[in-house]
């Protein structure tokens, strides 16, 4: 076990200046957009506290073990970074960005390194290492079934373009990858699957298990290289973050894959006339901006372009900035350790949707869809939750073939 004092000193050296950027500002504008803070109202869970604690570590007022409980309380949605005046008003000039998500990740990694673990995360990561896919709840996870969602679609293995299917999508909401694959096929996009897909490793990284995360990455990249892949299509925003942020950090310049998110690609296919949406979907819908697309990657136009192209759909949009303070609660491993708070976050998200008098909420994040569906079913009248690709498939006249979703 590494020496905790040494670990703490190295951590402070790396993060103190970023921490001081927030500490010295002290605006706390992040507080009311933070989905966790909106529920707990506990100052310990604020981005401000996450940064100030680093200064307190430097001062000797805190030590590593003091941090464990508080840093669970983050979904890594990134709202705080956008709402930070330091990012807003000095980003261009000083190339500064407040890095709360990175700080939380780094603290969680520090804690694991120091031997301070959270029981549910530990179990989750151990099970992921064991099964190669995340232990998504309520369904059996066996690696040989990782591509079972594609049964009967005759998808090839390998090729220049690979569709990467998220764990939750592969084992639980199989209608999402199925719809995605069938939509791409209908539009004439050539793609294949991996020989053996493992978890992207992002969740392990978010929970602080750096080595395990890296081993998943190494497997997946090796698999991509073996099958000659150049381009990876993601259907889940969490994978998109992992492949565009974590993997480049692991592999440096050697990492030369093009990562394309499905909404960007499908919006292009529609605009180019390669995908025709002709079947009316007579529903009143709103759209849930997945945090990792909207807040962390600035992808908010393509999903809206797709929704506007669906005939018959009444689309009641809520602008992307208002949605900075929305979240499903499903990210950053938060729901695994604090399911009650996470459920309240998704309950509040669905209450926002209900104010718009819609009968369906469309999301673009498969991880958000299970908690949002549960909270939507609680409501009277209920609000259905569907994935954008499921809706696109319906509008394209594609029958998914009776799979779960």
């Amino acid at each position: 076990m590494p020496d905790r004092e040494q670990l703490q000193a190295e951590f402070v050296e790396e993060w103190r200046d970023n921490g001081y950027g927030c500490f010295s500002s002290g605006h706390k504008f992040c507080r009311e957009v933070c989905p966790v803070m909106q529920v707990t109202r506990n100052e310990n869970h604020t981005p401000t506290a996450f940064h100030a604690n680093i200064v307190a570590l430097e001062q000797g007022g805190l030590s590593i073990e003091d941090l464990a409980e508080d840093y669970i309380h983050c979904t890594m949605c990134g709202a705080c970074e956008l709402r930070c005046p330091n990012t807003l008003f000095t980003g261009d000039f000083y190339r500064h960005r407040t890095r709360t998500v990175d700080v939380v990740k780094a603290v969680r990694a520090l804690l694991v390194q120091a031997g301070i673990e959270q029981p549910n995360w530990k179990r989750w990561v151990e099970a992921t290492v064991d099964r190669k896919s995340e232990p998504v709840l309520d369904v059996p996870i066996e690696q040989e079934r990782v591509a079972e969602w594609a049964a009967g679609l005759d998808l090839p293995v390998g090729g220049e373009t690979i569709l990467f299917c998220d764990c939750e999508a592969a084992f639980y909401r199989t209608s999402v990858p199925r719809a995605t694959a069938m939509v791409l096929t209908a539009a004439g996009v050539e793609f294949g699957l991996m020989r053996e897909q493992w978890c992207c490793g992002g969740p392990a990284a978010e929970m602080g298990y750096v080595d395990q995360a890296r081993s998943f990455a190494e497997h997946n990249v090796a698999d991509w290289r073996t099958v000659g892949a150049r381009r990876i299509i993601t259907l889940d925003p969490h994978d998109y973050i992992t492949f565009t942020e974590d993997y480049p950090a692991y592999f440096g310049d050697d990492y030369d894959f093009e990562i394309v998110h499905i909404t960007e690609l499908v919006a292009e296919l529609i605009a180019d006339g390669r995908l025709a949406l002709t079947v009316p979907v007579e529903r009143t819908a709103t759209y849930h901006d997945p945090c990792r697309l909207n807040k962390r990657k600035g992808i908010y136009e393509s999903p809206r372009a797709i929704l506007r192209a669906i005939p018959g759909l009444t689309f009641r949009d809520v602008d992307r900035v208002t949605q900075w303070s929305y979240c499903s609660g499903a990210g950053g491993g938060f729901a695994i350790e604090r399911p009650d708070i996470a459920a309240e976050i998704s309950r509040r998200r669905m209450a926002r949707a209900a104010e718009l008098d819609v009968d369906i909420l469309i999301s673009g994040c498969v991880w958000s869809e299970r908690p949002l569906t549960a909270r939507g079913e609680e409501r009277d009248p209920a609000i259905e939750v569907r994935d954008l690709m499921e809706l696109v498939a319906e509008a394209a006249g594609i029958d998914l073939g009776g799979v779960k979703g």
Partner: protein, 501 residues
């Protein structure tokens, strides 16, 4: 004397009152309920820790906590947003921090009698998101609008950027419920009646319980003014060749009699220089632009349209150049975000270092603004030269009167402080710098602070001087309401109230 170390039976009693989850004793819970954004002696952080933080959900719980504290002589410090620029929410003697953030419900929206009743932990932006659905808003608009909370606005008696049209916090709070230092729950307004704006019954107690910085009680509910959502907003920024011209133009604009004029902000030459460092709105401005005025009007379209024409004419005739729609609308829209960030800090040689923002505010009459400005910058200059960790970020002058934009001004000088380099010597220098600045305010017939409060070292020593005989009354009131000195002890020199008896 007051005890500071809490033993297990006290914590157990708190848990009985609040439930275990709402009694926080961890080190991070205490460290993060210690400071506010005002400059802080970081190197002495641990001297300001509370012993425990509690998160109540009702007035009754707060009353029970206060009764416990009063019985056992435990210091109690109220904390809402913790965004204040004085030290109201900073514990000086440990004890219990009563953090009201969980009390953030809207209790009643009365569109007939035009009031909204809220708990103290609600934020104004969040409140207005709800009120928007009803075509009304609560116009308390400080720089900290996206993060400060109603309870803290009351505790500090806040100031609003658009107060020239709509009034300031004390004008917008109609009545409130509060817990006294003995644990009694009372309601106060101008007189009685939760929704009465003007009364002649009894003492005007509402004012007594605003701006006391947590020394007289804890607000648990507030009934606030609702105003119609403005149909029209007009913001205009003007450039001037020098401060003096802009100063005269400010006088002309504020005395124009335009009732929709919500606020006028004068930026001096040092402020414009500071903005030119890195602000995309100011970098491209021509060098002859050296001072700026920002104005904003709110009202119906029928009022604002002709008033805006007259405002533009007055500004033009008094030497102002309109800076265009993009700067005017953009800067006004982002007014809360852009006032200070640490990366603006520069040493004399131009090195960028992260600096904490100190905003020293005062209330000063119009006629004294040029002299106060000259003296304040001269003081700042001496300390910058002397210590190498300070930076002059210029001055703003904001209209300060409620419902009228003339007369006196909230004057602020923004000083950057390189907190990472603070030690006992530089902290003492900083306190001395503040004291000199406050002395100038008093010498020109002003008040040490327009909106932050004067509880900090450097300011607080001068409070008896500013208040005169009124300070004796303050002490008598403090002792009468808080016989055991448990409410935020050590603040406002109010320990003196207990010294002779």
């Amino acid at each position: 004397m007051t005890a500071t170390a809490l033993d297990d039976p006290v914590l157990e009693e708190l848990r009985q009152i609040l439930g275990g989850d709402h009694v926080l004793t961890s080190r991070t819970s205490r460290f993060n309920r210690t400071r506010v954004p005002a400059p802080f002696p970081v190197h002495r952080w641990s001297e300001y820790l509370p012993d425990v933080a509690v998160l109540p959900t009702s007035a009754e719980q707060i009353a029970e906590v206060v009764k416990l504290a009063n019985r056992l002589r435990i210091p109690i410090v109220a904390r809402a947003g913790g965004t204040g620029l004085a030290d109201g929410a900073v514990p000086l003697r440990g004890g219990i921090v009563v953090d009201v953030k969980l009390m953030n419900r809207i209790l009643d929206i009365d569109l007939v009698d035009r009031t909204v009743t809220v708990q103290p932990g609600i934020n104004m932006l969040k409140l207005n998101e709800e009120l928007k659905k009803h075509g009304v808003f609560y116009p308390d608009d400080p720089a900290s609008y996206p993060c400060s909370l109603v309870g803290g606005r009351i505790g500090t008696s806040g100031w609003s950027l658009i107060g020239g049209r709509y009034g300031h916090t004390r004008d917008l709070v109609i009545s409130m419920q509060l817990v006294l230092p003995t644990g009694d729950i009372i309601e106060v307004g101008d007189g009685g009646g939760r929704k009465i704006r003007k009364s002649s019954t009894g003492f005007q107690l509402k004012h007594l319980f605003m701006g006391h910085q947590g020394t007289l009680g804890i607000c648990t509910e507030a009934t606030l003014e609702l105003v119609p959502r403005a149909e029209a907003e007009f913001a205009a920024f003007f450039g001037y060749p020098d401060f003096e011209t802009a100063y005269r133009s400010t006088g002309a604009l504020t005395k124009s009699g335009l009732a929709t004029l919500a606020g006028v902000v004068l930026f001096d030459e040092q402020k414009v220089d500071y903005l030119r460092r890195d602000d995309e709105a100011y970098i491209p401005q021509p060098p002859e632009l050296r001072s700026v005025i920002a104005t904003a009007m709110y009202g119906t379209l029928d009022e604002v349209k002709p008033a805006a024409r007259r405002l533009m004419r007055i500004a033009r005739e008094t030497g102002g150049d309109y800076l265009g729609d993009e700067v005017s609308q953009g800067d006004w829209a982002s007014r809360h975000d852009r006032y200070a960030t640490p990366l603006h800090g520069r040493l004399r040689d131009g090195t960028v270092v992260p600096m904490c923002w100190h905003c020293e505010d005062a209330a000063i009459v119009y006629s004294a603004l040029p002299d106060v400005r000259r003296e304040w910058h001269a003081i700042a200059e001496r300390y910058i030269e002397g210590y190498g960790i300070f930076d002059d970020w210029g001055m703003f002058f904001y209209t300060n009167g409620p419902y009228k934009p003339w007369g006196d001004y909230l004057v602020e000088i923004d000083i950057g402080i390189w907190e990472q380099r603070l030690d006992d010597e530089t902290w003492a220098a900083w306190v001395e710098c503040k004291r000199e600045i406050a002395e100038v305010s008093l010498r020109y017939g002003g008040s040490i602070t327009a909106c932050h409060g004067a509880t900090r070292a450097g300011d607080v020593e001068l409070v008896p001087l500013e208040m005169g005989g009124g300070f004796e009354v303050m002490k008598q009131i403090k002792r009468a309401l808080d016989p055991n000195n448990i409410m935020n002890p050590g603040k406002y020199l109010l320990d003196q109230a207990y010294e002779d008896g």
